[in-house]
Each structure stands twice: as C-alpha cells, then as structure tokens.
Symmetry: D2
Subunit: 366 residues, 4 copies
C-alpha cells in the first residue's frame, strides 16, 4: 500500500470538520494528520474536544490526536488543508495558510467569489483547477518554491443543481434560464445550534439566509470557462445564464431535493426528452476517468421510477458522490423539468473537498 | 338562533367526510343531519363505523347517528349534500343525487372538468356559482321544481395557488405564466392507507399521482369567466395561461406550502412589488362581503417576516380559510415569486365545500 | 363583564412566557397587563422584542405593550405575577417580587423544594394552597398588609404522572411504588436553542438533564398532606412512596406520553381493574367544582380504545387541562399499568400557572 | 474464495425478505439462490415483482432471478431456507419445507412456542441450537437422511431486551423481574401498509398488537436451558422470571430503544453497578468466538455518555449486530436500570436469521 498524503483539517470539531475526518478515515489517499480548532479546544484530545454527531463512530485513529490551534506552523508537512471553518473565522485563517504555501480546499464561502479562486464541484468543473495548476507550474518553471493556493467547494444546494446542467450545456449548448426550488436537509445547517427541532417537526421553513443568492451566483461561475490566459474565469453574465432559486428547509436529515426547470439558449436545435435523458446517462466526469479513489462510478444516475429520487432511498448512491435525477419531463414554460437529489454533506460539502484534493494530487500540485 | 339547514354527508367515514362532520359541528348554518357511507358501514352508529382520526374529538351530536347507504331516498329533507366520496365511487352516486334534485357540493374530481359544473374555490371565484343560480332561477320562473346541481371543490394544491392569483389578475390583468413547486401535507393523502410512515419519515416523495395535471388544468377553469349566456365558462386556453407544476409530499401533517413564480401578460404596465403586495393585502372576497359564517376575515394574509409562512405556525389563520403569502420578491425570470401556504383540508377541501354551501344559501338556491 | 384582574408576566419573551401571554389572551379573569423581560428587551414593544413561536398568532392586545425590566416597581397594580423565567435568573428576581408583596406563580424550579412553598398541580393538590391562604389570612387578622408569597408549578412530566395517582391514592390508600418511562415533547425544552432538529429527526434522546430526579422528588411533595399547623407539608418519605423515572425526548411537538406502573401500599384490599378505572372516571377536582374559568370539564379522561391516548389526537382535550389515561391493565410485577398523556405546556406549565391563580382568586388571596 | 452455500428466501418481496436479500448480497457464506413469493409474483423477475424500499440499492445479482412459488420442489439444492413470510401464510408453507428435509430459519411467529423448536437470538442462546444439532446427528448415526428442522428468530423487541440480560444471568444468577418500556421503529411494522404517516408524524402510538405478550413470553424461552435429554427446553416459569412490557411506536425509521429495569433473584449477593457494567463489557458470544462472518465484534457496547444510546447514532454498530447499552444506573425499586438500543431489522429480524444459519453451518448441520 502506498504511503498516504497528509491532510490537515481546520474547524475539525464542527459539522463539516467531523465529516472531513469521517471521510478521511475511509480514504486511501489522505490521512487526517493534523486537526485544528479554536483555542478552546486546542491541547485536548480530539475525542474530548468534539461532540461527535455522525452516524458512524469517531474513527479510532483520530480519537487521540491532540487538537491544534489553526496556525500554519502546526500543519507543517501537510500536503493539503481542508477547511470546515465557519465563515466568521475562515477569512484570515485560510489566508494565513495560503500565504504559508499550503494548498487549501475550503468549504467556507469567503473566497468563492474571488476571481482567481476556482469554485469547484469536482464531478462538474474539474477543469477549473487548471488555474491553480498553471500557477504552480509557472512557479516551478521559474525555480520558485511551490505557491500556496485556495480552491473553494461550492454551496451544497448549488452542487446538486450544476451536476446535471454541466453535461447538458456541454452537449446542447448554453442554458439560458434555470428555475429551481429546493427542499434542503437540516444537516446542512450545522450543529450549533443548527435548525431547532421545533422549527422542523411537522413544518417547512421557506427561507435559508443567503442561500438563494449563492445558488443564483455560484452557478454562473461553476458553469463558465477558464479564461484565455489561464489565470481566471470568464464568468457568465446574467444575460447568458439566469437562475431563479427558492430555498426551503424540510424535515430530512441528509439529502437536498431540488425541482429544476430549464431552457436552453439555442432555440433552433432544442434536444428531445430522450436526447436529454441519454446525455445525462452518458455523462462521465474527469474524476472518474482519472480514477480518483473517491470518484463515483457514475456522476449522475437517471431514475425511471415515477416517484424517485427520494432522499432516504437514493442519497447514498456511490457513497454520496453521485447525484440522482428523476422525473425528467417536458415543461410547458421552460424546455424541461426534473427532480435532482444530492447528498449535501458529501457532494455538497466535505466529500467534494476530498475529491478536489484527489484531483489536485492527480494533477501533480499537492 | 335561527333553525339550521340540513346537510347530508356522503363518504362520511373517510378522511374528507370526517372533516366535513367536524366543521359542520361548529357551523351555525348547517347541521350534519344524514351520514352516508358504504353498505359495510350502513346500519351502524357513526361512532362504531368510523375510525376517527381528527385532532378534535368526534362531535357528540354525530356519534349516535345511524349511517345510511349513499342513496337519495335516505337524504330527503337535506338542503345540501356534501360529498367526500372517493373518485372510484363518486361518479354514479353523485349523479343519482343531482338527478333526484339535490344540491351536491363535491370534493371528488369526477365532475370538475364538466363544462356546466362550476369548479369553485369560494374565496376566489364565487361568481362562478351564478351558472347554477341561473339554472335554478330559470326553473323557478318556469314553474318547474328546483333542479339538482353539482358544484365541485377544487384540488387542494390548486386552491392554495389560485387564491393570491385572483386579485392580481383582477387588478393587473391576465397572468401568462405560473411555475409552482409544492410541498404538500400528508393529510391530503387520506387514511387508507394514505402516505406510509416509512415513505415520509426523513424523506421527501417527489411525486403525487395526477396532482400536477390537476393544478395545471384546474387553474385555467377557476381563473376564467362565466360565459356570455351564463350557463358555462370561457375556459382559459394554454395560450392565455400556462401553469407548470412540480408536486412533492413532505413530512407535514396539515398545510400545503407552494413556491410560486408568475409573469403577467401585459408587459407595458407590470406593477411594482409594492403594488403587488398592496393588491394582495387589499383583497376581500365575496364570501367575506356577504357575511358567510365560515368566511375568513381576510382571504389573504401577507406576511413580512423573511421566514414565513410556515405550516406549523400559519396554517390555522382564520380557522384555515385564509391563505398566507410571504417572501414576495422580484423574480429574475418571471415577474415575481412568493411562498403560499394554505390549509389543505380546510380551504383545500371540506372547508371550501362548506363555504360554497354558505354562498349558495346566501344566493337563495338551497 | 366583570373587570379583569391584572397579571404581570416575567420572562415574557421566552417559551413559557409566550404561552402565558397566549393563554391570558383567552382568559376571562386575568389580563396580561405588564410584560417583563431582560434589559436587552426592555423598552421595546413586545412584538419587536419577541420571536413569536406559538401556533396561534401573537394576541393583538399584547403587541404594543412596552416590555419592562423584571423589577417590582414596574408591576405595581398587578394582582398576580406569572414567572416564566429561566432558573438561571428566577431566584433573586422572584424573591424581590415576593418581598415586595406580590403573589408569584412560577414555572421555575428554584423554590419548588422550599418547605413553605406549595408545589401545585391545580387539578391534583389545590388544597396545598391553604398554606399561603393561611398566611395571608393571618396577616389580615393581625392588621398587617397582605404578604407576598410564591407558589410553584410542578415540572411538566411530573404533572402528567400525579394527576391519575391522586384519585387512586385518595380512594385506595397510599401508593408504594411507581415506575414511569416518559416520551416527552420537544416544546418542553424551550427555544434557545431547545432540542436541535438533528437530535430529534428519526431519533430518540434517552436523557433529559435533571428530569428524572425532578419526577422522583416532586411527586412526593405533590402527593403529600398539609402539615398539622397549616404552614407547610408532611413530605412523603422514600419509604412511603418510591418513584423510579426514565425520561426520553421524542419527535413530538406537544404532549408528554408516560408509561406508568404502580403498586398500592395496602396489600389486603387491592382494588380490581374495574374499580381503578371507575375511580379515575369519577374524579372531579376542586378547580372544576369551584368553577374556575380554565378548569377542565374532567381532569381525567379514561380512554377505552386499545391504541390511545396519542399526543396528536388527545393532547388538546379540555384545552390541554385534562389528562388522558389509556391502556389500563394489570401488571405482573406491580399492581397495574397505564399510559398517561398530558399537554406539557398547558397542564404541565403555563396553563397550570393560570389555573393556580384562578384558584387563588377564588380563595380570596389575590 | 470458497464456494458459497445456497440460500432460499421465502416471502422475498416483503420487508423482511428484502432485508434478507440485502444482507445475503454482502454475505460471504450464503448466496440468495432461490427467491420465493406469492403466486402473484411467481414467474416475474425479482426486480419487477418487488417494490424495493431499502436504503441500499437492489443487489445486482438478485435483480433478474425469477421469483418462484413457495414450494419445496423449487428450492432443491438450497442449504438453508430463510423465511420472511407473514404469519398468515408461514404455518403450512414452512411445515412443507421442514417435511421436505430443509433447514428453515424463520422470522414468523408461528412456531416460536413449539417446545421442540429453538427460539434463538444468535448472540444470546446459540446453545439452544444443540437441540436440532442432536436431532441431525442422531439421524446420521442411524443412517437416516438428514431431517428437516425449524429454528425461529425471536420478536424484534425481545431480541434487544435479552442480549444484555444473558451475560448478567450467566454471571450473577437468575433474573427475577424485568420491566421494559419500548420505543419501537416503524420499519418493524413492514410495508403493506405498515405504520401510516399520519399516525407517526408528531405522534407516539402506545400500542403494538401482540407485542407485549411476545416480549413477556419469549424472554422466558430464550433465557432458559436445554433440557436434560437435549431435545427441548426447560422453559422458565412465571415464578422464575416475570417480565412486564409496555410497547410504543415512535417516529424512528430503524432501531428499537428500550428502557429496562431489572432485579436479580439472589438477594444475598447483588452485584455492584461497576460489576454489572464490567460484566456487560466483557461479554463475548459464541458466534463471535466461532468466527461467524456476520458476528459482531462485540455483542454489547456499553456507552458512558449520559445521553446515549440513540437510534440515529448507534443503531449501526457492528453492522447492526451489536446492541448498545447506556444509562446504566441503580434503580430505587428494582436493582438497576438501563437503556438498550438494538437494530430491529438486523439483530431483531433478518440479520439474526443469517447469523443463526452461520452458526448452524459451523455446527455442521446445513
């Protein structure tokens, strides 16, 4: 067995951090080598610092690790840093790691809109990683030490949306309009305190702060192209892609369900329903092609049963890295509509982070 | 206290029938005088025939009523017949009552699309009742005995949708496009067996058989005008109003939440967000104006809090006869979007039936 | 209509305080006249200070009341003070009100175990109020001004337990052993943050901090007698009554379900199952006898259906002031077992407070 | 890899049958070779006959198997028959398989109380299998063909109860009294229709037909000894062990939580709390010792956190074959109390069946 790369986890006691640690415990490429959290937790054994809330047990190899403060000097030797930090703290901490030369893969929203930072759903736009690959190669060619860089994981509800849109855009040309209504799981809201039970039992909360704006904006970055000079992105304009999102919280533990309608830009060659379905079935992403250990067998599963996908039944396909698409049908206003299900803490958060790191390793920049 | 009118209830042991009986027990205009059910239940006391599943107790005055078969001869003397029959049985039974001269207000879908039958949400299109009023008056003027007639209650998810659309259409002209995604309560699925627990716990079911088609079609009848001769309706065409619906079942006991986007037909005078909001706030329906006992104080409540309406908190406004509208905002694809909450078994089913009957009484045809 | 008495509410923005205000808005004897909360809320209109989480709307008459700090000088003229304060703050604040001569009815646990303070479930041991009545009468007879006093509401899960035990003890003599396992609603955990959604969805939490000890201790005070001098209580010893409690949180919004087994002390005349059932059916409490406005018609409902009581169907009997008992049967270890359902925020909290105040008014000490 | 044994599954389309097929798909000893169901399903491919409701996908190797009628002639060559049949059908069908010489491991209740049939929780009383082992060996020694036999899986809630009681009884002598209150998952109720959503959302159902009687009786067979002649069991009498059960259904998908109090028979040497805890921690069952592939690493996990075990967090320990025990403490009426969590469809149903078969294979009688 080859020696594993070392990973650091920032925000290790939070909900995203816990998920990173759980996924790393099953990962064949990375080890959770250093765990960082607030100064309140630093110095304690991880098992004493964390209130473990995952449905699998705390991995034995992480139990006794001593939690460190989130400072670069404690993470020396880590090939990659996964950040599950809250947005409140992520900004300066992640910057300090990038400045110290680390490769940071972050679930926080802070740097997603920075032009030079790739915003990546790894089964969708792994080609965006070329921007940081170019930067590293350029430094190497100049004999400079490897520069630090940041890659951002997308918002969880955005991830579910763009996975099926990508192959459609690739095959049938740009998508002009997307209307999406989400029914999102409570695990996306974290633990402290997360969604109160009284708000979610026998209820729907038709609002998630900031979420709709994230979906409407991030989709335009994820679905765009790397620019000509290879150091940034040709962000789609509102005239190229308009997304309208309505976000709701429902009584589901894991798995975001999204009802999506869309219309293609090219009106003279709108594909048939069968062509759309086939396109989704045929899709294979770069992470799968390259053989990344966490890559799903299929990035997309197209379900033909009339009442699928359902979170309880479909969220764990390919360990949560696959997205399920069902109820594909024509739409009387747009071109088509469908229901998309994605695992919000895997492909929508920590899992994407790990698959991004596996891609970065394949591309030789870790 | 004036003497109450007598009401018969068909399908009295089912979920809609139970709700009719509960609402009638609190109604000042109608008494549940005759209860009809299948021959299996006929002859038993109601309390022995029913598996009562309401959150209020079985009303004392109905407990000992002997259940009758659903045949007109057992309902003589009833001013109105409320039908909570399953569609499987409703067709011939309701016809036999209409043929026998009864006024039938039905929750079943069987006659909703018959051109001469009004399909009514009582806080929306009570003017459609004129078609049956005209028929009765004509018979009277000809010295004929009062003819039977049928009025249909709309589908529950359609009811929530059309309530806010009606005042908008009245004030700002026709609506061209409506996209709606629903999150529907399980009480709408009835009891036998209804939605299984294992399908709804920690889950969303993205499909309700026939529901999307009902929403897309019924809205065009409810929002149309009575025809020139007063004996039918000028159904809206697909070119006048296009509705696209996506229907989901969620873990909510009562209350359908709907995310709605819409676009007006008239592009030269699209109202502002404030005008839309004011229009909804100002709306007062005929049932309220006429002083129908069950009419809501306001057919629509506009909520300004960012995270409302919510089923658990808002479904019982004005005893479930009011619809709550929140999250009104501009839509980057359509004109506006909003979240609508309606009580599916009150304004979406039995409650509408009773308010329709109160309107028919006011209009002098019971 | 007679003029209402004035009530003050301490902790008015919290979950218990909100319930007090809701119940007072429907009460014919008391008005919510002064609302007290933390200094952070003081000075604001109530509707601006509160995050209202009740399923009925914020009562109109309370919306614009200016929130006061919890100091006696702001509550002058109030006949009674209802305290919904957190235990963290209740101690000195309630003491300052008692010292200032107010009648305080508190939901906090702080003074429950003080020997001279009655711990009352109003449909169970209203005779314990004699201790404060005696104190007031004595002061009056001595020409002194009316002294302040405190009455404590019991813990919510204790309330459900003792209601059926009281008539059994009255009729068949002391109860020696009680084993109880609870399945408690999340509304009992308050709002900030209360039970997190992720802890309660598809889950049971087999622990509620301090709850089992409260049940095991409080039952011995509530079920005891006033002492010979009328100024305190002959607390039951562990040898007289032993309670063993196991407390769980389940996914229910309102309503505590408790599985109870018990054994009588007197072994020579253990009643039959029918006698036990009849005793519970026959029970009528003093609050009902005196005609207190909030008193239930029956303090106990005995249900014969095999699968009742259920929280969703039975919690609102007599507006939540009645307790439902079902599944009465012999127990092979104890004498009998049963399932008891009580509304935890009505008879288990704020509702009991209001009914206690109505009893105090009837007894002439407000 | 050794050749797997062939397993037949009766009732393959039902909820227990589905779980058998899922577990067999991951089992290294048995293959699901023949699938039996009703004549309505017979002749179809399994994937067309079943409404698959498991959270893992239908195993590929079972999809295209042609469903057979439940007749022995279609199962020739199977080493073991797993029955997930409903009690309504299980009686004569299972008998026909035993008569035809098959080893039948059944989840149905029909033969559990037959004196010669072992009722087995495989991590508890695997020694009861000696009764059928003896029968087979005797036949062999007489040169007779291998006789068919039946082994019954216990009721799901009984399984959770007896696992921790067994080591306590082994070490500290007989247990005299057990009081247990259950909070049971809905997956135990099957699919058709199972527990209706409206009964379980925001609710507790304090009744499961027949369940309490099963717990009170089955525990006395499972915890008893094989008789002196090795062909049956010395069932415990009511005077030796008295169990009082109160069973409830709660809103949990998988995992039964049980609050258990118990008292030992021997009063002169009652163990300490620490001794009880250590005894549970030290327990290792025969299935683990023998290296059965499905055996848990530990039959019992003792949790020290005050709020554990919880179904969502602990039900999958050792793939659902382990039972979790928490909240161990002294009981003021009995000796001790604890909370026990077991996976009702694994150790409480199909999983136990498979582990029983693995034990039978180790003992040489398949």
């Amino acid at each position: 067995m080859p020696i594993k790369m070392k990973a650091g986890v920032l925000g290790a006691t939070g909900s995203v951090g816990q998920r990173f640690i759980l996924l790393l415990s099953e990962n064949e490429q990375f080890d959770a080598a250093v765990l960082g959290a607030s100064s309140r937790s630093a110095g304690k054994k991880y098992q004493d610092a964390v209130v473990w809330k995952q449905t699998s047990l705390l991995p034995g190899e992480s139990k006794d690790l001593i939690v460190q403060e989130c400072k670069p000097e404690f993470f020396i030797g880590c090939n990659v840093i996964f950040s599950g930090l809250d947005a409140e703290y992520a900004g300066p901490i992640e910057k300090s790691f990038v400045d110290a030369g680390f490769a940071v893969v972050s679930n926080a929203k802070n740097y997603r809109r920075v032009p030079s930072v790739p915003l990546v759903v790894p089964t969708v736009n792994s080609e965006h990683l070329e921007v940081v690959v170019n930067r590293v190669k350029q430094a190497r060619s100049q004999g400079l030490s490897k520069p630090g860089f940041e890659v951002c994981i997308s918002n969880c509800s955005t991830a579910g949306l763009v996975v099926p849109l990508k192959p459609l855009q690739d095959k049938f040309g740009p998508i002009r309009f997307v209307a999406v209504t989400t029914m999102q799981a409570i695990s996306g809201a974290g633990f402290s305190p997360g969604t109160p039970g009284i708000d979610i039992l026998d209820n729907v909360v038709p609002y998630i702060s900031g979420e709709e704006d994230k979906m409407e904006w991030e989709a335009k970055k994820i679905l765009c192209s790397v620019n000509g000079t290879g150091d940034g992105f040709d962000l789609l304009s509102d005239d190229q892609l308009t997304v309208s999102a309505q976000c709701n919280r429902v009584a589901v533990s894991d798995g975001h369900t999204e009802c999506v309608s869309w219309k293609f830009t090219n009106r003279d060659k709108v594909p048939s329903l069968e062509e759309v379905k086939q396109c989704l079935k045929d899709y294979s992403c770069e992470a799968t092609e390259l053989g990344c250990p966490s890559a799903p067998k299929h990035a997309i599963y197209v379900l033909d049963e009339p009442d699928r996908p359902q979170p309880r039944l479909d969220r764990n396909r390919d360990r949560g890295y696959a997205v399920s698409v069902g109820r594909l049908r024509e739409d009387p206003i747009f071109d088509f509509k469908m229901t998309v299900l994605s695992h919000n803490t895997i492909i929508g958060a920590a899992g994407s982070g790990i698959l991004i790191a596996e891609l970065l390793a394949k591309k030789g920049v870790l």
